[in-house]
C-alpha cells in the first residue's frame, strides 16, 4: 500500500509537469481561480487557446483511441494530467463536456465521414460541445423527454425545449436526445442527433442561477432541421447511445470536487473569536473542523481508491457511487459553519468580510446545485440501494406503456 506512482506514471507526470511549467502559471492557493475579472467571451477565448495548446502537445484527448485522434493512453494518465493541471491557473471546465462525453459519443456512433469532420476540430478546441438531454419535464426521469423529432425525407425536424445545458449560448454543437416514436414506451422511442447550435430555430438563453452565475442554458428548438446523416446510432436507439455517453463519465472520477475545504475552514477559524477567546480553542469549533476533515479527506481517499483501480487497469469499485453524496453534503455543512463562525457578520459579503471568505461564500451558494446536478441525492441513494446493495428497483408504472398514453 502506497501513494506512489509506478515508474511509468512518474515519467508521465514529470513530462506533464514540465510542459505545464513552461506553458501556464502555477496556482498560489486552492481558492485562486483563473481570470476572475475576465468577461465570458474572454474566458471562452482563453479556453479555446488553452485547448489548442494542449492538442498540439498531445494532451487534449489522452485516453481516446489513436484512430480517433487521441493518444491511446490508459485512463490513469488522464487522472495524472488532471491532477497536475489542477496545480496551475488555466481556464478549466469549458471543454469538460466536449472532450469528456460528447465527442467520445460522436466517435463511437457517427459514420467515419462525420467523425472525421468533427473530432479533429473538437480536439483542437475549434468547437465547443454540450449535452442536450434534460428537459423541464425530464430531470431525474430522463426518459420523459418530449422534444419531438419528426422525419421529413432526408431530414429531421426538431421541436421542443432543453434545459440545464452547460454553456449552450457559447457552444457550437451538441448531442441531442429527442422523441422519434410516440407509440413506443418512453425509453424506446428516443433517437440521438448531432445538433448545430448555430442553426436556424435554435435559441439558447442563459439561466440566472440562485448563485448569481449563468453557467447553464435553456435551449428552445423551433423547426430545427437536422440531416439524417447527423443521427447517432439507429432510430429509436437513443437511450442506448445516451447510456454509452454516461459510461464515459464513470471514468472521470471526482475531478472537480474540492478536497481541502477543511484547511480553508481552519484559516477562517484562526481569525474568529468565540466569547472573546480564539475560536480555535473552542471544542464545538474543533469538533466541526474534525468533521470537515472527515468528509473532505474522505472524498480524497475514495478518489484515491478509484485511481488505484485505474492504475491497475481495473474499473473503479462501487464505493465511487457515494462520492457525490459525501462531497455535496460536506460542502454545504462546511460552508455553512464557516459563515456561522462570524455570527451575524457571517451574512456580510466577502467584499466586506475579506477575500478569504470569497471561496466559502461561493461554495455555500453553489452547494444546493451540487446536491442536484448529475442526480439528486435521492436518486443517488436509489442508485446505491439498487445497483450496489441489490435492493428492489422502484416500482415503474410507465415502463411498458406507449409514451403517447402516459398521463401528462
Amino acid at each position: 500500500m502506497d501513494f506512489k506512482d509506478t515508474a511509468e506514471e512518474a515519467a508521465f507526470r514529470a513530462e506533464v509537469r514540465a510542459w505545464l511549467e513552461a506553458n501556464a502559471t502555477p496556482r498560489q492557493s486552492a481558492e485562486e481561480t483563473f481570470g476572475p475579472d475576465l468577461t465570458e467571451d474572454e474566458r471562452v477565448a482563453a479556453a479555446k487557446d488553452w485547448q489548442r495548446k494542449k492538442a498540439e502537445a498531445g494532451y487534449a484527448a489522452l485516453t481516446w483511441p489513436k484512430e480517433m485522434g487521441g493518444r491511446g493512453a490508459p485512463p490513469i494518465q488522464q487522472v495524472i494530467y488532471g491532477q497536475e493541471e489542477a496545480r496551475f491557473l488555466v481556464p478549466a471546465r469549458v471543454f469538460e463536456n466536449s472532450l469528456g462525453q460528447c465527442l467520445p459519443t460522436v466517435g463511437a456512433w457517427a459514420s467515419p465521414e462525420l467523425a472525421a469532420q468533427y473530432l479533429p476540430r473538437g480536439i483542437r478546441g475549434d468547437d465547443i460541445w454540450c449535452q442536450l438531454f434534460s428537459e423541464p419535464a425530464a430531470g431525474s426521469d430522463t426518459g420523459n423527454i418530449r422534444t419531438r423529432a419528426e422525419r421529413n425525407g432526408d431530414e429531421w425536424v426538431i421541436n421542443g425545449q432543453k434545459v440545464w445545458t452547460s454553456g449552450a449560448h457559447f457552444c457550437d454543437y451538441g448531442i441531442l436526445l429527442a422523441r422519434s416514436d410516440w407509440d413506443q414506451p418512453k425509453q424506446k422511442g428516443l433517437t440521438m442527433f448531432i445538433l448545430d447550435l448555430k442553426a436556424d430555430g435554435v435559441d439558447a438563453r442563459p439561466i440566472h442561477q440562485m448563485s448569481g452565475e449563468r453557467e447553464f442554458c435553456e435551449v428552445f428548438l423551433n423547426d430545427v432541421r437536422i440531416p439524417d446523416t447527423h443521427r447517432l446510432g439507429e432510430v429509436n436507439q437513443g437511450w442506448t447511445v445516451m447510456l454509452s455517453t454516461l459510461m464515459h463519465e464513470r471514468m472521470s472520477i471526482g475531478g472537480v470536487l474540492p478536497t481541502t475545504l477543511h484547511e480553508t475552514l481552519v484559516k477562517l477559524a484562526r481569525n474568529a473569536t468565540w466569547n472573546g477567546a480564539p475560536a480555535l480553542d473552542n471544542d464545538v469549533v474543533k469538533a466541526r473542523i474534525a468533521d470537515a476533515y472527515l468528509s473532505q479527506k474522505g472524498v480524497d481517499l475514495i478518489i484515491s481508491r478509484g485511481i488505484t483501480a485505474l492504475s491497475k487497469g481495473q474499473e473503479p469499485g462501487p464505493e465511487m457511487s457515494i462520492l457525490k453524496l459525501v462531497a455535496a453534503r460536506g460542502i454545504l455543512d462546511i460552508a455553512s459553519f464557516a459563515m456561522e463562525l462570524a455570527g451575524p457578520e457571517g451574512m456580510l459579503g466577502h467584499e466586506v468580510l475579506g477575500d478569504e471568505y470569497a471561496f466559502m461564500q461561493m461554495m455555500w451558494l453553489t452547494a444546493p446545485g451540487i446536491r442536484i446536478a448529475g442526480g439528486t441525492e435521492e436518486i443517488m441513494r436509489n442508485t446505491v440501494a439498487e445497483y450496489v446493495l441489490g435492493l428492489p428497483r422502484e416500482a415503474r408504472t410507465d415502463k411498458h406503456v406507449p409514451f403517447r398514453e402516459l398521463e401528462r
Binding site: 500500500m1 502506497d2 501513494f3 506512489k4 506512482d5 506514471e9 490513469i76 477543511h262 484547511e263 481552519v266 484559516k267 480555535l280 471544542d283 474543533k286 469538533a287 473542523i289 474534525a290 468533521d291 470537515a292 476533515y293 472527515l294 468528509s295 479527506k297 474522505g298 481517499l301 475514495i302 484515491s304 481508491r305 485511481i307 488505484t308 483501480a309 492504475s311 491497475k312 464505493e319 457515494i322 453524496l325 459525501v326 435521492e378 443517488m380 441513494r381 436509489n382 446505491v384 440501494a385 439498487e386 450496489v388 446493495l389 441489490g390 435492493l391 428492489p392 422502484e394 416500482a395
Partner: protein, 362 residues
C-alpha cells in the same frame, strides 16, 4: 497509486473469514454472552494457530512476521464474526506495547508465550473519560498500587498498565494482586478490575517508553479497532439487507420501500467513508508515517460512527424481531459500543483529530 491491499493479503483474509465462519458461530459467541465462558478458546486457538492474530508480531518472538496490513484484515474478519476473543486487549494493545516498548528480555519473556497461546495478555493505557472514583495506579519503580479496569481481565495472565508517566508490566498472579470480574454490557468481551497492593511490577524499558509509548499504541489500536468495526458494520448491513428482502409487509418486500432503501444507502455510505479513513490509517500504521495520529483519529471517529449507526439501524430495519434475544442484532449493538469506547469515545478522538488537522493546516 496503490491505495489498496494486495492479492496475497486478501487471500489471507479469505482464509481467516472461512475459519471464523466455521468457528466463531453465533452459538459459540453466545456461550460468552450467557456467561458460560470468558472467551472462545476454540476461536482464539485457531486465530493464533494460523498466525492470524500474530500477523504483525515479529517471527523471532513466535509471531507470523507479516505486518500491520495483514493484521488489519484479520481484525475486519474478527469484527464481522463477532469473535469473542482477547484480540483487542491482548494483541492491538498488550502485545503491541511489549513489542514497541519492551526490553529485549521482556519481549523474550512474554511475546513467545503470548503468540503460542500459553499466556493471555491485556492492557490499560489510559484514556480521556472516567466516572467511578478510582484509586489511580501508582508505580514506585518496583511495585504497583491502585486499581485498574482491564478488558478481558478475567482471563488474562499479564497486563500492561499505564501508571502516571510509566507503562509497566504486571503478572496478575503476583503477590498483592486481587481480581474481581465485573458485570459488563457486552459479556462477549468482558471486563475485570484488579486491585494492587504494592504488587511487584516492572516498567517497560525499550526504545519507546511512558506516555509516548502509550500514545503510539493507542493510535495503532485505533486503526486496528477501526477495521474490526468495519467488519461488524458490514455484517450488520448485510444482515439487515437480507432480512429486508425476505420480510414482506403491505404486499411487498420491505426492502423495496424507499425509506429503508435510503436508510441502507446511508449506512453503506457511512461504512465506505470509514473504510477510506481506515485504509489511510492502515497505510500510516504500516509505514510508521508521521500522519499516524491524524489518520488513526480519523479512522477511529469514522469507524465508531459507522458501526454504531449500522448496529442501531440494523435492529430498526429488522423491526420487532430485531429486538429479541435470539437475533444477533443486539450482539452487534453491544459490540459496537464496546469497541467504540475501549480506548476512549469518539468525542475524545474527535478532539485529537481536530488538533492534528489544525496543526497540519498551519
Amino acid at each position: 497509486m496503490n491505495f489498496d491491499f494486495s492479492d496475497d493479503q486478501r487471500l489471507l483474509q479469505a482464509e481467516v473469514q472461512k475459519m471464523l465462519a466455521a468457528t466463531s458461530t453465533s452459538a459459540e459467541v453466545r456461550r460468552c454472552l450467557e456467561g458460560e465462558a470468558l472467551y472462545s478458546q476454540v476461536t482464539w486457538r485457531e486465530l493464533l494457530g494460523m498466525g492470524a492474530a500474530t500477523a504483525a508480531l515479529p517471527a523471532e518472538y513466535g509471531g507470523a512476521g507479516l505486518g500491520y496490513l495483514e493484521l488489519c484484515l484479520v481484525a475486519e474478519e474478527a469484527g464481522r464474526h463477532l469473535a469473542a476473543v482477547p484480540l483487542a486487549s491482548g494483541i492491538y494493545l498488550a502485545a503491541e506495547a511489549l513489542s514497541l516498548g519492551g526490553s529485549e528480555a521482556q519481549k523474550q519473556a512474554w511475546l513467545p508465550r503470548i503468540t503460542a497461546g500459553d499466556c493471555i495478555a491485556t492492557a490499560a493505557l489510559g484514556g480521556a473519560e472516567g466516572y467511578l472514583a478510582g484509586d489511580a495506579p501508582r508505580f514506585d519503580g518496583t511495585a504497583l498500587s491502585g486499581s485498574v479496569l482491564l478488558p478481558d481481565g478475567g482471563a488474562a495472565d499479564v497486563a500492561v498498565i499505564q501508571a502516571g508517566d510509566d507503562v509497566v508490566l504486571l503478572e496478575l498472579s503476583a503477590a498483592g494482586v486481587t481480581r474481581e470480574p465485573l458485570v459488563s454490557l457486552d459479556p462477549t468481551r468482558p471486563y475485570a478490575r484488579i486491585r494492587c497492593d504494592a504488587a511487584p511490577a516492572q516498567a517497560l524499558s525499550g526504545a519507546l517508553a511512558g506516555k509516548a509509548l502509550a500514545a503510539r499504541v493507542r493510535n495503532g489500536a485505533a486503526v486496528l479497532l477501526a477495521f474490526e468495526q468495519l467488519g461488524g458494520a458490514a455484517r450488520s448491513l448485510d444482515t439487515a439487507r437480507e432480512y429486508s428482502l425476505e420480510r414482506k409487509a403491505f404486499g411487498r418486500q420491505v426492502g423495496s420501500f424507499q425509506a429503508l432503501k435510503h436508510k441502507m444507502a446511508d449506512i453503506y455510505t457511512g461504512n465506505e467513508l470509514a473504510r477510506a479513513h481506515a485504509f489511510y490509517g492502515a497505510w500510516a500504521l504500516s509505514t510508521d508515517a508521521p500522519e499516524l495520529p491524524l489518520a488513526a483519529a480519523a479512522a477511529r471517529v469514522s469507524a465508531t460512527r459507522a458501526y454504531t449507526v449500522a448496529a442501531e439501524e440494523s435492529i430498526e430495519i429488522h423491526g420487532g424481531i430485531g429486538f429479541t434475544w435470539e437475533m444477533d442484532c443486539h450482539l452487534h449493538y453491544r459490540r459496537a459500543r464496546y469497541l467504540g469506547q475501549l480506548i476512549g469515545s469518539e468525542h475524545a478522538w474527535r478532539a485529537q483529530l481536530a488538533d492534528a488537522v489544525i496543526t497540519e493546516a498551519a
